[in-house]
Symmetry: C2
Subunit: 384 residues, 2 copies
């Protein structure tokens, strides 16, 4: 298998983009990525999107977007793994370039979530859980993560304040990211007094509903060298699955799919958790970030809450997590999230992250998760 | 890239499977394929499904199915390209095995379409067309293919009877396939007097709404040799896209995505149309089969209708098309169709197709199409 580099990144301002359609949002981000890479012709396209059928009544998405981007008749594939669809698209692009099948592959993610009302959005997002064994009985995603949060608090003594500190940290980072949906700071007090959604989670523990897209351009490392691009290599890719219903898991505070995906990615990259210098994780809810940094091996099991409280994961900490603002502040257009995570790490490794730059970062990791952990995709990036 | 073989196939009886859920239907087919291959552990799973979100309210499908099949934590990817989702899943599995990333890959397709009412099914299927530029104005798929049929009749003199003959041929083949949804013969007269759906297409020109699944097991050719399996190799894989809206095409009677995908597959396999001995094509409507055999280069442009009338594509003809019964008689659970097409060709190349066996077939082709031709996946299989 060939070494694979990322030579272009593109992302537009995320938010409630009433005046733009899904195809316009996607093409904006894709053109930015192609421009950044300095290429105008691609061999193949991957698009991550969770539920364009339920959100905008459009499937057959990759063909539509390839055409609208002026790239038909190239092969174009839409992949879906709920909120991990973007990370999965990246993994598919990585495999295609590594295999030798294609040289220039565009990987994008997109979701247009605000064209439906709140009830419809909740239904659409619920399709990432087990429809027959979870949603049918009335539970929604805040409810599922509330169960996880409660269990983590009971088992490990994680505090309500520690949950809030995840949101506070990510908003502090997001305030330095002009593309974020909510680029402003919040306080622990604001989180604790925000509207209760599903006890113990409040609205400021939850990532928002967002319209947005993100795209990256991949090619063989040798070609990147010829093109004189900053050499950022994808050195590890891991994906794993688990039961998507919480009721089938041994321990709901432990995200086994993240543990397994990370194990595979670390092995492929020849890295250990201690080697990672900057991380983007899937903080769809504050509790998720706490569980995920444990499953990635960045902190000990049960100590995720304390790590946040001690500032270990802050921008100035030992292992900065979600320097982009995370899903919480940057926004969470589900299919785009995994690709945007990669963009943040690539900017960090290029030393192009401006005021949120992690000094001297050469190895970074992304963790993108579907549902309540039914699937995870982990990538490791390295500046070579 | 490594050579890839298909070592197992599995398909259950298709139809209106009221008493089974999507996950049960899928696992049935997957277990049959694993059993046929003689393996019980896989490295990776691909699932083709067009719109499980709209049909059964379930996304995150590949994780759900990997788990229900007892294969979690393996990587599992759901791919979508409308009605070409199954063929696309096969292509992704092919790339993964060819790349060296995985050895044993299970590729499945599934759709459960009868849990919604007719209006909802029409809406869900319409998401394969351009929602904003086609569906919004009221057109549905029978309408789009009726436009193509009318144009083909005007331009090439294709007759209403020739359209009917496609359905008659495919039902004759389907009557020999016990897994088909409609395993019985029909007559030209029955087609011509069936209910008008969208002039000139009548209900017996249309493929049905179906619940069903299909699965195949892939591995490197060298491993297949060790396992002493019949050696059926995937020698060519091509995918291509086109505008999904008919209004953006130069000539709506010509399926350019099929032409382009076939060109790529022929080139990879080192084959010409004349080398192909048995073919499964995407006859979602009778006119589709006529256009497709032209775009594949099996007959001259404009002569698809005449080819059917002359018996060229019948089971006893020079180039038998849709020996399985096609989408028309076998059924069309959209995401499963592309995988089932591969199963029919593999059975033919194994000389295991019973009363519908094409004598001495060693090279076969599948053509799986999204929407009205916005995407096509073509595969070429060879007995080695």
């Amino acid at each position: 298998m060939r070494d694979v580099a990322v030579i272009g990144v593109g992302m537009n301002k995320w938010g409630e983009l009433w005046e733009k359609s899904l195809r316009e949002i996607f093409v904006e981000a894709a053109l930015l990525a192609l421009d950044d890479a300095g290429v105008d012709k691609i061999d193949s396209l991957y698009v991550g999107s969770m539920s364009s059928g339920l959100f905008v009544g459009q499937e057959h998405l990759a063909s539509l977007l390839a055409d609208y981007l002026g790239q038909a008749p190239v092969p174009a594939v839409r992949v879906e793994s709920a909120c991990a669809s973007g990370g999965l698209a990246l993994r598919m692009g990585f495999i295609e370039v590594a295999s030798g099948m294609s040289d220039i592959v565009l990987v994008g993610g997109v979701e247009k979530m605000t064209d439906v009302n709140g009830h419809e959005a909740t239904y659409a997002l619920g399709t990432a859980a087990d429809q027959e064994y979870e949603c049918y009985h009335g539970v929604t995603f805040p409810g599922l993560y509330a169960l996880i949060a409660r269990a983590h608090m009971e088992k490990y003594g994680t505090t309500r304040e520690q949950l809030a500190m995840v949101a506070v940290k990510n908003h502090a980072n997001g305030s330095l990211n002009p593309l974020a949906q909510y680029p402003f700071k919040i306080t622990v007090d604001a989180v604790l007094h925000s509207v209760l959604v599903a006890d113990p989670l409040r609205v400021l523990d939850c990532s928002p509903i967002t319209d947005g897209a993100a795209a990256v351009v991949l090619c063989p490392l040798d070609l990147a060298r010829k093109l004189k691009k900053p050499l950022i290599k994808i050195s590890g890719s891991g994906q794993a699955t688990d039961s998507i219903a919480l009721s089938s898991r041994q321990d709901i505070t432990w995200i086994e799919s993240t543990h397994q995906a990370a194990k595979r990615a670390y092995a492929m990259a020849g890295k250990k958790p201690e080697d990672i210098q900057v991380v983007e994780v899937h903080d769809c809810f504050t509790i998720a970030e706490i569980c995920v940094i444990e499953a990635l091996g960045l902190v000990e099991k049960g100590k995720g809450g304390r790590a946040v409280e001690e500032g270990l994961t802050s921008l100035q900490g030992k292992i900065p997590v979600n320097t982009s603002g995370g899903l919480k502040a940057k926004g969470h257009p589900v299919g785009a999230t995994g690709v945007a995570q990669a963009i943040e790490i690539i900017k960090q490794l290029r030393e192009d992250a401006g005021p949120r730059q992690v000094k001297g970062a050469r190895v970074g990791l992304t963790q993108n998760m579907g549902g309540s952990g039914g699937s995870t995709v982990v990538h490791i990036f390295e500046r070579v």
